[in-house]
Symmetry: C2
Subunit: 160 residues, 2 copies
């Protein structure tokens, strides 16, 4: 490993930065101001209405501390509501608003475009192989992260 540019960690950082830049550009031209992380959180709350913050963090592999700020901004934008749970007063229950639902629908095409753009250097076969390897690598190293992916077993949306 003679060079920084031959290190997977460095290349992954660069691709992630590219992904964020492309995402921002696409979403902005669709007339919205939403970050990739905020988008992921919104999508997950839609598929899991009433989810608490800790479970949400596990489902999209965030750090628990980070999620608080993300949710703050989504609530401030009027895309989410946050209320104290009726069954567990420690937990905050999250739900999408109609505004959030509408925004998500309008943003979806921009997000699709962004995913294609960030891999525009690869052909169709290469994209599929890249995705397979990405999934395999992240799955295997999941627990190395402080914010590992944690699926909810008692969750119908989780059934393959």
């Amino acid at each position: 490993m003679k060079d920084i540019n031959d290190m997977p960690g460095h290349l992954v950082r660069r691709l992630q930065q590219i992904a964020v830049a492309v995402f921002h550009a696409q979403v902005e031209s669709a007339g919205f101001d939403l970050t990739p992380v905020q988008y992921a959180a919104l999508v997950r709350v839609r598929t899991h209405p009433g989810i608490d913050q800790a479970t949400l963090a596990g489902l999209i592999a965030y750090d628990r501390t980070t999620i608080a700020g993300v949710v703050d901004r989504l609530v401030q934008k009027g895309f989410l509501t946050r209320e104290v749970s009726g069954t567990d007063r420690r937990a905050r229950v999250l739900r999408m608003t109609e505004t959030g639902e509408a925004a998500l629908n309008r943003i979806a095409p921009a997000v699709e475009t962004a995913q294609k753009l960030m891999l525009s250097g690869l052909d169709e076969v290469e994209v599929a192989e890249f995705m397979r390897l990405l999934r395999k690598a992240t799955d295997a190293a999941n627990d190395f992260s402080r914010a590992p992916l944690r699926e909810v077993s008692s969750d119908p949306a989780n059934a393959k």
Copy 2:
């Protein structure tokens, strides 16, 4: 694209987080406290003594603003020196100290281990293919980022 977990942007973010976590763990057990970004900057200053901050940023695809803080911390740790250039008084010239050189040598094995660990889910052939695709994708989308990779043409270290 039904799910967040099928989006390249999301998976790349996760792998990057894993990479950072593994890097920290390895470097820490080697007795140092250095981030991936700080490591990359150190390595580049070693191969390009007397480089200015803006050129350094281009060589490792950082944002120019970000580099200031990174260099600050490296100077504070005693790994780099920063001085006003003699030929261009706007520029700050960076050089490694002996302390920095020694640290880099001691850290190198930990960084190698971290690179292997983050891709421990892939076999040898898959790692090679993953690296090839990563390089191809980042090269093609380089200019989408605000902090694109900019190689220095008049640079002997750049000759292939």
